[in-house]
Amino acid sequence: MNDSPESSLVAPALLLELPAADRLAPAPPEFRQSRFHRLADRWSHLVFLACSLLVVALIGGILFFLAARGLAAFLPLTGNTGRTLSFAEVFLSTDWAPSSDHFGILPFLGGSLAVTGLALLLAAPTGILTGVFIAKLAPSWMRSLMRQVMDLLVGIPSVVYGIFGLTIILPLVSHSFLKDAPASGFAISAMILSVMIVPTIVSLATDAFEGLPLSLDEGSQALGSSRWQAIWHVLIPAARPRLLTACVLGLGRAIGEAMAVQMVIGNNPQWIALMREFTDRAPFLRALFTPAATLTTELVQELPNTPTGSPWNNVLFAMGLLLYLLTMVLILATRRFGRNEVA
């Protein structure tokens, strides 16, 4: 059959090395082509499409139900049991005292931003540097070890982080920094949060650095730069859009974390006044350990105890809505960075 001299020479040799056909691969599946199979093929994509549309519907559904309950605080609805609140007294006031009819949520928003900011301050530089280390410097055994460490850190449940903070970090801090005064607050929450979000940042940063063209490395080395100079002056700037995405996603994880923070932050909605007291009388360090509260911790703390339809309950749902909208803004922001990316 084969006329070409080349293939007649090569083919038998190849055939000899191949294992028996049945060991090479399982028998090919049998493809029957009945009317049923053709119909199934024509319509099945609708099933898959329905699954995807369900996800879209979920996004909308969450928004709808949270908005329905959260915005009820500001509308004179029949289901409400208290007075109708104004946007200004909820979103622009630091006065949170639900039992005496004050519903300012700024302390929680401020608490969330402070804790998240501090956590990111710890996690972003270390996470990005670890990413560069894994992608560019670490020997291969260290690389796989670091991946496993990050996998474990991300898999540890938030309540276990919480109990670690509660039973080990709090006593330690109280004993060594605060002269045995009970410890809680921003700094400890931020410490725990930073460990919780660092795997997200590391894994995305590693991907970012591994995705850079090798020519950047080679070019800067050819110009005589050291490894660190290449990293600092070339690789990190080149990866900046994706590093920014990594930090924003880490931020999103931190701002939404509830249980671990709730267990260590001290749950004190009046933290602003207390912090002022601390900064007046004690060193700055003490202020970092002010017992405080965030959007998520306040939800965990108070939602089960408030009657449905009361302004208090409605405002808590408004805080949930705010968290959800923040998530959406952060995700859209990462899309924006992606567009600026240099290929």
Partner: protein, 292 residues
């Protein structure tokens, strides 16, 4: 320009390079140390509590000496139920995105939705589940409310894993399948999905671990009580899981031995997590052996 400027003093650059490499090693080793201290401390605290007795007794409400038997059951039951609910949906959505959505706007939009759902804080999902299942449908704090809300947490992860695993199926394999006369559906079901199965399974184990550790969602949907009967397979009873129990006993404060129970529960959870991670690595190795 700055890079060139520093070249004027190469010896300084060399010192900086050496120093910064050291810093990177220290940071990386620091994280390993953090993990080691963390796992070590949790296991050390929980070890004295971890007796068979603790795992097989019913919990107490006011006295010391309670166990965590129903919580273990509820954790496993809820994880399995939520995976059972989210697996078909996640698989379906993943198949659609990898095989049908093309590369245009539709795919981008679906990806955006999946990313948003994946990034949604679990406390927000908890509020949604509480409004819809607990209050509107009147299911109160129950296993079914918990399982359905927990499924929302799993869906984006399973979708993403399915999509990525299907993308990694070699094109030749699919083309060969078409060449044998298979329809697109047959190619997906009999060629692509079996090839991607190990990858999806790995993702599934990780999802199970995440669902197992989730607490915020379940506090608001499955409640902080357990049925007095064991094992109780009814979907209408409240179902406190291990992670919720750990949180509840520490924040509630009515149990005299809350600290011990929390420490023991945390140790159990860490052990389960370690086992899940080991099995993921085992699966991973199996995949690599097969694809090599």
């Amino acid at each position: 320009m700055r890079a060139i400027a520093t070249l004027r003093s190469p010896s300084r650059a060399k010192h900086v390079d050496k120093f910064m490499r050291g810093v990177l090693w220290v940071i990386a080793l620091g994280f390993i140390l953090v993990l080691a201290v963390f796992v070590g401390a949790i296991l050390h605290q929980g070890w004295p509590v971890l007796r068979l007795d603790f795992l097989t007794r019913m919990p107490e409400t006011l006295e010391a000496g309670g166990g965590i038997k129903p919580q273990i059951f509820n954790s496993i039951y809820l994880v399995l139920l939520s995976l059972g609910l989210s697996l078909p949906i996640g698989l379906g959505a993943g198949v659609y995105m990898a095989e049908y959505a093309g590369k245009g706007r539709t795919l981008n939009f679906f990806r955006l939705c999946i990313e948003t759902l994946a990034a949604t804080p679990s406390i927000v999902l908890a509020l949604f589940g509480m409004i819809v299942f607990v209050q509107t449908l009147g299911w109160s704090f129950s296993i079914r409310s918990g399982a359905l809300t927990l499924a929302l947490l799993n869906i984006p992860v399973i979708t993403r894993v399915t999509e990525v695993s299907l993308m990694s199926v070699p094109r030749e394999l699919k083309e060969a399948s078409y060449g044998l006369g298979a329809t697109k559906l047959q190619t997906i079901l009999k060629v692509a999905l079996p090839y991607a199965a190990t990858g999806i399974l790995t993702g599934l184990v990780l999802t199970a671990g995440r669902a197992f550790g989730e607490s915020a969602i379940l506090v608001f949907t499955a409640g902080t009580n357990t049925s007095a009967i064991f094992p109780d397979f009814r979907l209408t009873v409240p179902g406190e899981t291990l992670s919720v129990h750990l949180w509840y006993v520490t924040s509630d404060g009515t149990l005299p031995d809350a600290r011990e129970i929390a420490a023991g529960t945390a140790a159990v959870m860490i052990l389960v997590l370690l086992i899940l991670n080991l099995s993921v690595r085992f699966l991973d190795r199996a995949i690599r052996r097969r694809t090599r």
